[in-house]
Amino acid sequence: MAGVKFVSATRVYAKDAPPAVDALDLDIKDGEFMVLVGPSGSGKTTALRMLAGLEPLDGGRVEIGDKDVTFVPPKDRDIAMVFQNYALYPSKTVADNMGFALKMQGVPREERTRRVREAARLLNLDDTMLDRKPKALSGGQRQRVAMGRAIVREPRVFLMDEPLSNLDAKLRVQTRSQIAELQRRLGITTVYVTHDQVEAMTMGHRVAVLAGGHLQQCDTPRQLYDNPVNQFVAGFIGSPAMNLQKVPLAEGGVRLAGSTLPLPASIGTAARQAGLSELVIGIRPEHLHLADGDGAIAGEVTLVEELGADALLHVRLAESGDLIVARTEGRKTPPPGQQVSFRVQPDDVFAFHPETGARLAA
């Protein structure tokens, strides 16, 4: 059991290129499920590989359990990793795959067998499967073997690099909850990399959002959703994404779709202090409420996506012609082509600096 700490950890791949990971500071508590999420090229996988010891650091340090492991070889870090493509040994049986690390540690055969069986039971891999080769398994079974290989070692930290990306959608959702549940039961510190913000939100105790090698925000899923610190996090977390529009400031609010959208006074003050004439506002799809003609935001429905319980309206705004998405109740959706308008609570509007993307105080 151990926490993990990145201290100004930096990785530069090519001399003149910007760092893949730039001075990352991250404090992961003992037993925590930390998700690193971000678009491709955000540095999340590099950060994980730095923790694994597969990628050297060009600056800063990495600690596991208060011990500096920056220069410790991977095998001595007491970690186990699940790879995106599982990286199973094709010539070894499932049992040998899972027990290989123990064999390398010189663990006697009987104990190895016992621990492999234990892990297999934990993952619902039946005994007949243990003697098979990976190629005789389905994708979901291979994924579980890869998990088993990590569990058998009883490491201090689990590292997972997009372990669900090769599964089909249904199995992914199922395995997602199994991994989260397993982690809770084992209580082993876990660092989990994904590009899928739904995975991040559902699995992580805390989520670290990365972009361009920089840590944008690290917080609980709820806080990330309700209080994004900048435009990137606001747009990245949430599905469908937050509606972001660059709009001019007006008396008491901003101009949007031919009318004035009122904003909390604090945002207006912050914008004036920053000397801005326009800003970026963000509204979550579920905060756009259909109004009967008297709403502040008007537009024309271009597309309706039925999701069952609710529906997504794609709306072309009046005047600007920009597209926004609104989440409405299913079964009562206006048809495409209809003119609609929305009401928005001023407190539900996020505002961001148009250049830096930083959140303007609300």
């Binding site: 694994a52 597969l54 095998k75 990793m81 040994y89 390398m104 090769n166």
Partner: protein, 285 residues
Amino acid sequence: MAAVQTRDREPAALRLRRMSGQVGWGVLAWVVGIAFFLPVLWMVLTAFKPESAAQTWPPKFVFSPTLAQFRLVFSGWGPYVTHSLIATTVSTVLVLVLGVPAAYALSVHPVPRWRDGLFFFISTKMLPIVAAIGPLYVLALKTHLLDSIWVLIILYTAMNLPVAIWLIRSFMLEVPKEMLEAAELDGAGRIREMTEVIMPVISPGLVSTALICVIFAWNELFLALNLTVTNAATLPMFLISSVPQEGLYLAHLSAAATVASVPVIIVGWIAQRSLVRGLSMGAIK
């Protein structure tokens, strides 16, 4: 099912064209195949003929077969086949024992200046062996290795090693990087990584490399002819010696050549099974 249905609905003219195309390729394949096989067939047939029948032109295809030539071959080939077996087996084993770590050091964890190393290995194959035979002869003479099986083992190893290193290296490059990283995390050192993780994955490649080494060594004549006389003479030399200065010899030579070809064919047939196996099936996904 879908494929069958579309085929059923295929217009007759189109089907005719497709099938005539297939027939055309089939005929061509057979013609080329027979053209390559005919000399072999002729050799095998001649081996069963009495000398008198072997010399006739056009060749006879109806004759009373005899094993006389084979008896003659088997009576004299003993030492030659032993030498060939030793030289081929030992040199091939040496090539693999030396080639695998060399290829590993040039691919998985490349040593500094690995490109130079790689080029050096292949550059040794650029000089025609005829150009080196003089110095080789003198070296063998001075080290008292002339007409010894060791001179062939050493030279066959040296001859096949560069090719083997290049081949094995290309197989090692195919090994998924994540698998090697998994091995590193699992705590496998360099040697364990090579023997327990990489070698099982590339074993079909190792078999094909070994096969090529066996064929090259088994069929090698030039070095054997120049550096050995009797104590280490190999099968190809036996073939040469089967040609008498005068008289009839075609049937005898054919029988000897047939016998000499059989081991390579057997080895190739055995290796074929592992060659078809995919290189890293099941490693990805």
